[in-house]
């Protein structure tokens, strides 16, 4: 069973403090969503968890060991990251891009083998990309590109997945399918998943736990029912909300109640 834990982590860029003494743990088999207003530090936290940013205080532990003591290879075999936006400067094909997820296992010199091909196929199938495997990535839509990046993270076979806005730019169908797939994989493959989202209601449906970030730290962390209350969400986002029940799943449904200017239209 793997777990990733931030322990009293403080982060900043130069003099600007972004996170202060934040603790969060994610265990195998669960999806934890990071919610919070723009600039609350969601991406910064993911970067710290992925060892792309060294905390000024505190540590990040993978299975109890400090991630800063791991080799680059060990870390990349255990922790996969889907950054918020990625470049695609050369027209590698979809398949070649997903294959790069095997580099942490195969190294940077040896040719990929049949094992790698099997894992890549599986990742392509899980993300519905089999038909696009020969397409240059420069020709993909934004949503297809997000799926390629997820497929690459899956091919990495990391036990911990850190996904920064995995459904950013996806249409409704792929938002739902992506989150369903992530949750299914977390349960079936016992992955520990941390993701950032802007859609509170999808987070409520597909996460086991929700961490609400605001004012440089977690103001709540728990089940969707515990965290998505009118009081906490209103405080985090500085907008009045009402919370009701999802008509099908019974999960919390957050509805904003801001002032709506009247008039206009035809």
């Amino acid at each position: 069973m793997s777990s990733l834990a931030a322990q009293e982590v403080s982060c900043g860029y130069g003099d600007r403090r972004v996170l202060e003494s934040l603790s969060l743990a994610v265990r195998a088999g669960e999806v934890v969503s990071l919610l919070g207003p723009n600039g609350a530090g969601k991406t910064t936290l993911l970067r710290a968890l992925a060892r792309l940013l060294r905390p000024t205080h505190g540590t990040v532990l993978l299975d109890g060991g400090d991630i800063w003591h791991l080799g680059a290879g060990d870390l990349s075999r255990s922790v996969g990251l889907m950054p918020q936006s990625e470049r695609r400067d050369w027209p590698l094909t979809v398949e070649e891009s997903v294959q790069m997820g095997r580099a942490p296992h195969r190294g940077w010199l040896l040719p990929f083998n049949a094992d790698d091909a099997r894992v890549v196929d599986e990742a392509l199938r899980n993300t519905a990309l089999l038909d696009l495997r020969q397409r240059p990535i420069t020709e993909l839509s934004g949503g297809e590109w997000r799926r390629v990046i997820l497929a690459r993270a899956l091919a990495q076979q990391a036990r911990v997945l850190l996904l920064d806005e995995p459904i950013g730019g996806l249409d409704l169908r792929f938002q739902v399918e992506m989150l369903r797939l992530i949750r299914e994989l977390a349960i079936r493959e016992q992955l520990a998943v941390v993701l950032t989202l802007h859609d509170l209601n999808l987070a409520a449906v597909y996460s086991h736990r929700i961490a609400l970030l605001s004012e440089r730290t977690l103001i709540a962390c728990g089940t969707p029912e515990e965290v998505l209350t009118a009081e906490l969400v209103g405080r985090a986002f500085s907008v009045p909300v009402a919370v009701t029940r999802h008509p099908v799943y019974g999960t919390p449904l957050v509805v904003p109640m801001g002032d709506v200017p009247q008039g206009g239209g035809a």
Binding site: L81, P83, E86, R88, T93, E96, A103, W108
Partner: protein
């Protein structure tokens, strides 16, 4: 074999054919059949026929050097384009050419005389100049153990401009040597024999092989530095290796042929059109395309205005620029493919 492997084999075969045919061009024209005869036969006689001497002692080493230098420039261009994720990068992007120019100019104006086996004073000074310039750029740009790409690029521009300014100053002060300096700056393979080939070949081949070993790492860089590090790539180390391998290749190529532009810029683009974007194919394909381009350019350089010779660097620039524009135009119609 897959399509891309086949593409490499075809390029190699094409290069071999063009090289053999090129042995026949020049002041004395030799037919393809006779060339094959000359290449295949043993020549033990103390006084071989003149066409044998022309092929073995004059044209063959020069053509092989063209292959080698073209290959080095093409592969180094692909390496730098991959590292900077920028299709405008070329082997001279961080100062190798201006460093070489300064080194060579200094050697010419001071009349320095330090020869290494196979390399005259001027090429040797060019080699040292190229390596020094890159080393200075790299150390200026490094912060701790890392070298941010943008800083590397900017330091390259600054050092290049400085070197070029000094070269201009030296040319101004020593106008009696203008022709010599100009002749060297424009790049030429004229009169190069086996000795130059023996001296530079190991460096160029080692550099190209080194770049090829970095191919998968360069692929990972396609996704940006954050994603590449999440895949376990050590960016600082990769940058150091790419710069080292590409600079050794470039410096040796410059020592052999002077500053030959455009081959290193254009070859990777043609290579990507032929074999796709994976660096494991792009790097060897760029090398082969570069070799092919330089052999053809050198053929033109020594035949178009015969018996006089054009500097091959002028030919590559004259042909390369319009060719590059055509490539850009094709890419407009076909976004996503190559370039």
């Amino acid at each position: 074999m897959n399509r891309r492997g086949l593409c490499l084999v075809v390029l190699l075969a094409l290069l071999a054919i063009v090289t053999v045919l090129s042995l026949g061009f020049g002041a004395v024209s030799i037919g393809p059949q006779r060339i094959v005869e000359i290449l295949w036969a043993e020549h033990q006689s103390p006084r071989p026929p003149s066409d044998v001497t022309i092929v073995w002692e004059l044209r063959l080493p020069r053509l092989l050097l063209a292959c080698l230098v073209g290959c080095g420039l093409g592969a180094a261009g692909a390496g730098y384009q991959g590292l900077f994720r920028n299709p405008l990068a070329d082997p001279f992007v961080i100062g190798a050419s201006s460093g070489a120019a300064l080194g060579a100019t200094l050697a010419i104006v001071t009349g320095l005389n330090v020869a290494a086996p196979g390399l005259g004073t001027v090429p040797l000074a060019a080699l040292v100049g190229a390596l020094l310039a890159v080393a200075i750029v790299y150390s200026v740009a490094s912060i701790g153990r890392d070298v941010p790409l943008l800083t590397l690029l900017l330091a390259g521009v600054a050092v290049s401009n400085f070197c070029i300014a000094v070269v201009s100053l030296l040319m101004f002060l020593h106008d009696e040597k203008l022709v010599t300096i100009f002749g060297w700056l424009m790049g030429s393979l004229s009169g190069r024999g086996w000795a130059v080939l023996h001296t530079t070949a190991p460096w160029i081949l080692a550099g190209v092989a080194g770049l090829w070993l970095l191919a998968r790492s360069l692929d990972a860089l396609t996704f940006g530095e954050e994603a590449a590090s999440a895949l376990g790539l050590r960016l600082a180390r990769l940058r150091a290796w790419v710069v080292l391998a590409a600079s050794i290749t470039t410096a040796a190529a410059v020592a052999a042929g002077g500053i030959i532009g455009f081959v290193g810029l254009v070859s990777p683009h043609i290579a990507r059109l032929l074999v796709g974007a994976r660096h494991a194919f792009v790097i060897p394909a760029s090398g082969l395309v570069g070799a092919l381009l330089l052999v053809v350019a050198d053929d033109l350089a020594r035949t178009v205005t015969a018996p006089a010779e054009l500097p091959v660097g002028v030919v590559t620039a004259l042909l390369g620029s319009p060719f590059f524009l055509v490539l850009l135009k094709t890419r407009e119609r076909n976004p996503g493919r190559g370039v």
